[in-house]
């Protein structure tokens, strides 16, 4: 078995290191498809190139998202952004055979999977990859997504985390069920409100014991869930002061959950726009934003909140004077939007755009681009910034969403990584073959010892 060196401690100790992950997003509005160098979003070669470039740059992990239903816009599939992506675990299994050290992280939903089936599949990926698998735990609760699944939309919003936690506990018990690497396996039984599981697990522990768990929720419930269950939290507090606050909060929650102060690592999603000089980087940023939010994307963004067609408006003119059509709002039109607030929101936005003198396009760009999570600058500047994050332990790393596929990591790996290595804040080789080792995670606690009584939902 792999030796995990870090012992549980009540005092947070910064590692002084930055790790990188790469998030190949698939369906999204941030990946530029209009540039000449934009490649395929589905061909295996795109995935291979990103994964192998990341591995050359000693990235800890390669992430994939999960698709369960196509996004819609005004009742039809959304036409403007990148859409369509392979199944995460299938793609990662293929990438396992063309990579050797990088972690392989599958975003998988707890609502439209069965715990025993998902745990088995993740264990398969973990074994096939030699202990490099991870699960990015996400939850969904809407019937619209459920329309593609036997289970349908059966889950109340309030139950979401309760359900997810019981799911994760069950998965952990399945992975823990082999007493020794040779077995035998103990039967795992769970009887709950949402599902019943009675299974004798089939697969032994991997070289890293079990898949690493990532979690992205940021609400208080989400943070507590992460503090109890996750190994790495993957939510967006990339600005320095925010990041420091978030670290403090998470350390407290981890200790309250009976875990060590360093038990949960932080790896926020981020975007890098880099060049040899600051001026070139700023110019590049303008170019990136203009391709991310073209005229049609700007109008479509407003349509999503207005609930009506706005194509007669000039994207370079002011925000529409007409009001949103509240009664046509629906969950298919983006998260965080509620019909009753549409009018209020429109008034607020019009005032803000007018104040700042922004056109529709400029306003939408200011709203949608990863404003808070973008590092723009010269390689040297950004390396200095990241070194400061590492020094105080504000984060353990960054999960980079490249805005170009498949060449989007080239400048990071070729220029930023060496700068970081020179500053002593980035690995110069992989620590080991497993993701667990490469992240430097603490030894996992066997769920059967700690949490048998906690399974309740």
């Amino acid at each position: 078995m792999t030796q995990h060196n870090r012992a549980k401690s009540d005092v947070f100790v910064p590692s002084g290191q930055i790790q990188f992950g790469v998030f190949f997003q698939g369906v999204n509005s941030g990946t530029i498809w209009k540039a000449a160098e934009s490649g395929s979003q589905t061909d295996f070669e795109s995935f291979r190139r990103i994964a192998q470039t990341a591995e050359r740059g000693l990235f800890a992990a390669f992430f994939l998202g999960e698709g369960l239903r196509l996004r819609e816009h005004l009742g039809r599939p959304h036409a403007l952004d990148v859409v369509g992506r392979p199944d995460a675990q299938t793609m990662l299994a293929a990438l396992a055979s063309v990579t050797t050290n990088i972690g392989l992280v599958a975003t998988q939903n707890t609502t439209y999977n069965d715990p025993a089936d998902l745990a088995h599949r993740l264990a398969s990926l973990d074994l096939i990859s030699g202990g490099r698998a991870a699960w990015n735990i996400v939850t969904t609760d809407n019937a619209w997504t459920g329309a593609n699944f036997r289970r349908g939309g059966y889950l109340d919003h309030a139950d979401r985390y309760k359900h997810a936690e019981a799911f994760v506990e069950t998965a952990k018990r399945i992975w823990d069920s082999w007493e020794t690497p040779d077995g035998p396996a103990r039967r795992v039984v769970h009887q709950g409100q949402h599902y019943t599981v009675d299974v004798t697990p089939r697969l032994p522990r991997s070289a890293q014991y079990r898949p690493v768990l990532f979690q992205a929720g940021d609400s208080p419930e989400g943070r507590n869930f992460a503090a109890r269950q996750a190994d790495v939290i993957f939510s967006a507090h990339p600005k320095f002061d925010d990041a420091v606050e978030f670290r403090k909060d998470l350390v407290e929650r981890s200790l309250a959950a009976g875990r060590g102060a360093n038990a949960v690592q932080i790896m926020p999603a981020s975007e890098f726009i880099l060049a040899p000089t600051a001026a070139e980087a700023a110019e590049k940023k303008e170019w990136v934003r203009s391709l991310q939010i073209g005229p049609q994307q700007a109008i479509a963004y407003l349509e999503q909140f207005w609930g009506r067609e706005l194509s007669s408006y000039d994207p370079d003119g002011p925000l529409p004077e007409i009001d949103p059509v509240v009664e046509e709002t629906s969950e298919t039109r983006g998260s965080g939007f509620h019909g009753a607030k549409a009018r209020q929101l429109a008034d607020q936005w019009r005032a803000e755009a007018k104040d700042k003198g922004l056109s529709i396009r400029q306003f939408v760009t200011s709203r949608t681009a990863r404003v808070d999570s973008t590092f723009t600058g010269s390689y040297v500047e950004v390396a200095d910034q990241l070194a400061e994050f590492a020094r105080v332990g504000a984060v353990d790393g960054f999960n980079i969403s490249p805005w170009l596929i498949p060449s989007g990591l080239d400048d990071i790996v070729n220029h930023l990584v060496p700068e970081l290595q020179e500053r002593g804040v980035y690995p110069t080789e992989y620590r080991g073959n497993t993701l667990w080792e490469n992240l430097g995670l603490e030894t996992p606690v066997r769920s059967s010892d700690a949490a048998a009584e906690a399974v309740r939902a």
């Binding site: 369906v27 698709g67 859409v83 992506r85 392979p86 675990q89 299938t90 396992a96 699944f149 396996a185």
Partner: protein, 361 residues
Amino acid sequence: MSSTRQGGFLALELDGAGWDGAHLTRAVLAAESAGFHAATFTDAPAPGRANALQRAAFAGPATRTIALVPEVDTVYTEPFHISTQLASLDYVSGGRAGWIVTAAESPEAAAAVGRPSVTGAALGQEAAASIEVSRRLWDSWEDDAVIRDVATGRYIDVDKLHYVDFDTAVDFETRADFAGAGYSVQGPSIIPRPLQGQLPVLAPACLLGEVPADAVDAVLVSAPAAELLAAEVRDVRSRVAAGVAVVAELDVVLDSRGQAAAGRVAGFGSGRANYAGSAAGLTDFLTELLEEADGVRLHPASLFVDLEELGRLVLPELRRRGVLRPLVQDGTFRDLLGLSRPVSRYATAASNAAAPAGAGK
């Protein structure tokens, strides 16, 4: 029909390679260089067995010509997941993916996901429903749906995406007795149309009936003994359309390394026909069997031991006799089966329809 065929094909079951990446790579490369046309991956619950589809996906980038065909259960897995996973396998293998449809009759599989056990005719109905949903989802993006039109800002042409609108209550209305829990799938798929358009679908002959013969591209035929296999193949062929391939299932244990086959394995107990003996005897047996069957799937008693004998003695001789169809570098699994690439079922409907597809889901 056998007179017009250009030789049969051979598939090798690779379950014996286990879950270790290095062993898997070694096994699938050995099978490919031995000249097998297809590798299959079993997936019934058994200790130590990793997910079949992932093993097939792992083998994808390592290989060039061999078709990769996992078993995937239709009873206790979500049809939407099955469809997107298989489509993804087609992408990572460059169009060499297929699907052996299984319908798990095991109470253990039911208990694992907390569902009532499915038995009898309902197994075939679940399989038929999953095949239908998957096929519709594979067609739900027309081939040219991704347009990347910079002028209009459109990445996709929405008119070329389709809601599959599958509902067991409606699609199986002639069978009011659909025994599984009813469900519906809306679509479209989350992934563009697979490289092959439609993956070849293989099903065991025991599911025919509930699974319509025109829903599958190949049928896997078992018999209790080797000498009954050819007759069973003829019987199944009489029940399926001319374009459907008939594939015989055969357990194999060969004399090897100075040890007689009989001494290596006491008994299979798989329920399949088995051949135990010399490589020369197997070569003769396969030559005759491939007169009747379009292909044979071999289940070796010991993967690496028997594969060595097969690759050294059996396949070269079969090829010399002209019994095997030629391997096609960078070909698809459909190419191997002699199937053309189909147009999406929604393509014509969409170009003729006045109303936008999918409006009012």
